[in-house]
């Protein structure tokens, strides 16, 4: 009797998700968080000079990237996209290796800063630092698929402060003109380093901008992975149908300071910082899964233990990898043999 099954209250089945799927989503969130926390530890231990964190964004990232088809769709992420990168196929070891800047790190061979993910083999565009540039790359990927007539959907993410870069406007408008298959995800955590939403975004809503480009903008609770999944799935279907882009504004929290170089207590109300924990998407989803009868304390503990082992191994393996060799530092400015 469906109405007595607490799991049905979760609503995931209507979205075409199995019980396994939602547990797997939860697992991805946990894994992303665990990698993230580990990197802060490594930073404090002096192993990594700098870290920039995705804590608080995991539900939005896992939810919005979940409908994307691995090795077919493409992603142009940003520096907080640990959970997105993991959902798209990068491993915990890949992420930690990148942060240790090892010579065979898949993102950049140790050339880029922490937080700059990328993997051609996973269709993940390499992150660069100037905020917002990736939005145009996602639009270009979508344009490429449209020119060729391929079934491909591109997704890209960025912060609400970044939404004020001119390039984002140019990209969204063009995607609107040609109804390109691209999904724009704004992870709105209310802060761009020290500048709050009210001083960043005229009108306070990033989603509201989509209408001006002729496509839908939706605001979603970025703490709820299933709500994020629902809007992203609709966006993915829309893109595949040739109906064009969607802008998703996921309201999230930034649980940490902007980066390990920042101290948010200098500009953020202590009460607000105190309250942040209540908006942590991980206990939120964990509780929902328990309420739905999909997760027990034991299963949760087992999952976390498994992840811990994975991270320990990932760190050990990553640390054992060779550092980059200065003798290769001049390479790959241009294709080799080409000039």
């Amino acid at each position: 009797m469906a109405e007595l099954d607490p799991a049905s209250a979760l609503g995931h089945r209507e979205l075409g998700l199995t019980d396994e799927d939602v547990l797997s989503m939860y697992g991805h969130m946990l894994l992303a968080r665990a990698v993230d926390e580990r990197m802060w530890l490594m930073q404090r231990a002096g192993k990594i000079p700098f870290i920039i964190s995705g804590q608080g964004h995991e539900a939005a990232q896992v939810g919005t990237t979940w409908p994307m088809r691995r090795n077919q769709d493409w992603m142009a992420p940003y520096y907080r996209s640990i959970a997105s990168a993991i959902t798209f196929g990068m491993s915990a070891e890949d992420i930690i290796t990148a942060h240790l800047a090892k010579g065979d790190d898949v993102s950049s061979g140790g050339r880029q800063m922490p937080g700059h993910y990328g993997a051609a083999r996973n269709n993940i565009v390499s992150v660069s630092s100037p905020v917002g540039t990736q939005v145009l790359h996602a639009v270009g990927l979508a344009m490429g698929a449209w020119v060729r007539g391929d079934d491909m959907v591109a997704i890209t993410s960025f912060g609400e402060g970044t939404s004020n870069q001119g390039e984002i406007h140019e990209g969204m408008n063009f995607a609107g003109v040609h109804k390109l298959p691209v999904i724009f995800v704004c992870e709105n955590n209310g802060w761009a380093i020290s500048v709050p939403l009210e001083r960043q975004v005229g009108g306070l809503s990033v989603a509201a901008r989509a209408e001006g480009y002729g496509f839908p903008g939706v605001t979603v609770d970025g703490g709820d992975p299933l709500a994020c999944y629902a809007v992203a799935r609709a966006a993915h279907q829309r893109a595949q149908r040739g109906d064009g882009p969607t802008l998703i504004e996921a309201r999230v929290v930034r649980l940490t300071s902007h980066s390990s170089d920042d101290d948010q207590r200098r500009y953020r109300d202590p009460a607000e910082v105190e309250e942040l924990k209540e908006h942590d998407p991980i206990p939120f989803f964990s509780n929902r899964l328990r309420a739905a009868g999909l997760l027990t304390d034991e299963a949760d503990a087992a999952l976390r233990a498994e992840i811990k082992t994975e991270i320990n191994e990932a760190q050990a393996q990553a640390e054992a990898r060779p550092d980059p060799d200065a003798a290769t530092a001049h390479r790959w400015v241009y294709a080799e043999g080409a000039d």
Binding site: V125, S128, T133, H137, V147, G166, F174, V333, Y334, D339
Partner: protein, 328 residues
């Protein structure tokens, strides 16, 4: 062999490359139905359709950034900036992104992109339709920079640029688009990037130039030969980055005197690099200081023809500089 002007040679190169390779696409403002404001893409929209010859909105950052995305996806975009003067809104995409992707991804991604830009003065275009802004790109590691001065080179270098696995900034001097016709080899005529052309051999001094200045320098060389009995060697650099230092230095070794000529302003212009290279690596060959002749230190070509004439280099100014240098 066909007799073509530079504009026709450029169009032909794009047409042939689009026929050869379905991944080649064009994008830019007014490149479609109108065929470009200079006509460089005329006829291609009708032939290849709306998507492969794509009229973009008036958004240069989009043009460059979307070209980058499409190139990652496997296409070979040839983007047009309507005027070199209007490339700056795309500067972030070109300099932060396009020039660096291969390096920063440790060769995971490469970007076969060409950005074509009509540049240069002497066309009554004033400050914003006359710029020679190649220096911003020649000093950017990760880009290649090409500036042809003949129809054959325009065709051959554009083909090489389209086939190149890395981003190429392709500078087309507006004043020579239709200035003259010359023989252009048919079919697969590819001029390799990175090689200068000794356009006229000589023994008394070397003139280094590119683009429209090639034509001016050749005319100046004629005058010098006729009026002064001076044999100037004219070296058309053709590719500014990577620079063909070998040919440069060999020329200076022969002549002992170097005059570097360009239309862009002098201070910090591309000629500084050419001069510094010669001054350092060719020190022993030099019988006189490496001399630069360049556009004046004003922020753009002023409009009225009195002012524009004052600004522009021409054969007479080159002759004058060459005479002083030869007399040193």
């Amino acid at each position: 062999m066909a007799e073509l002007n530079i504009l026709e040679a450029i169009r032909l190169a794009m047409d042939e490359e689009m026929e050869r390779d379905p991944d080649v696409m064009l994008l830019g403002e007014d490149v479609g139905r109108k065929g470009g404001v200079f006509g460089a893409t005329e006829g291609l929209w009708a032939k290849y359709g709306d998507k492969r010859v794509l009229d973009t909105p008036l958004s240069e950052a989009l043009i460059a950034g979307a070209a980058m995305g499409a190139a990652m996806y496997g296409l070979r975009p040839v983007a047009e900036m309507q005027f070199a003067d209007f490339v700056y809104p795309a500067f972030n995409q070109i300099v932060s992104e396009i020039s660096r992707l291969r390096y920063r991804s440790n060769n995971s991604f490469g970007l076969p992109i060409v950005i074509r830009m009509p540049y240069g003065g002497g066309v009554h275009g004033a400050l914003y339709h006359s710029q020679s802004n190649e220096t911003y790109f020649t000093s950017t590691v990760g880009l290649k920079v090409v500036a042809p001065g003949t129809p054959a080179d325009a065709k051959g270098l554009l083909k090489a640029s389209i086939r190149d696995p890395d981003p190429v900034m392709f500078f087309e001097h507006k004043k020579v688009y239709r200035l003259f016709r010359a023989d252009v080899p048919d079919g697969d005529h590819v001029v390799p990037i990175g090689r200068a052309d000794v356009a006229r051999p000589g023994k008394h001094l070397s003139i280094f130039c590119y683009g429209y200045m090639r034509i001016c320098a050749l005319e100046a060389a004629e005058m010098l030969a006729r009026e002064d009995g001076l044999e100037a060697e004219v070296v058309d650099l053709r590719t500014l980055r990577p620079l063909d230092t070998e040919t440069l230095l060999a020329s200076v070794a022969r002549t002992g005197r170097a005059l570097v000529v360009h239309e862009a302003n002098r201070f910090g212009g591309f000629g500084a690099e050419v001069a510094a290279t010669i001054a350092e690596a060719g020190f022993e060959s030099l019988d006189a200081p490496v001399t630069r002749l360049a556009g004046p230190e004003v922020p753009g070509v002023p409009y009225h023809h009195n002012l524009e004439d004052w600004f522009m280099l021409n054969p007479a100014k080159i002759v004058e500089a060459a005479r002083s240098l030869a007399a040193y």
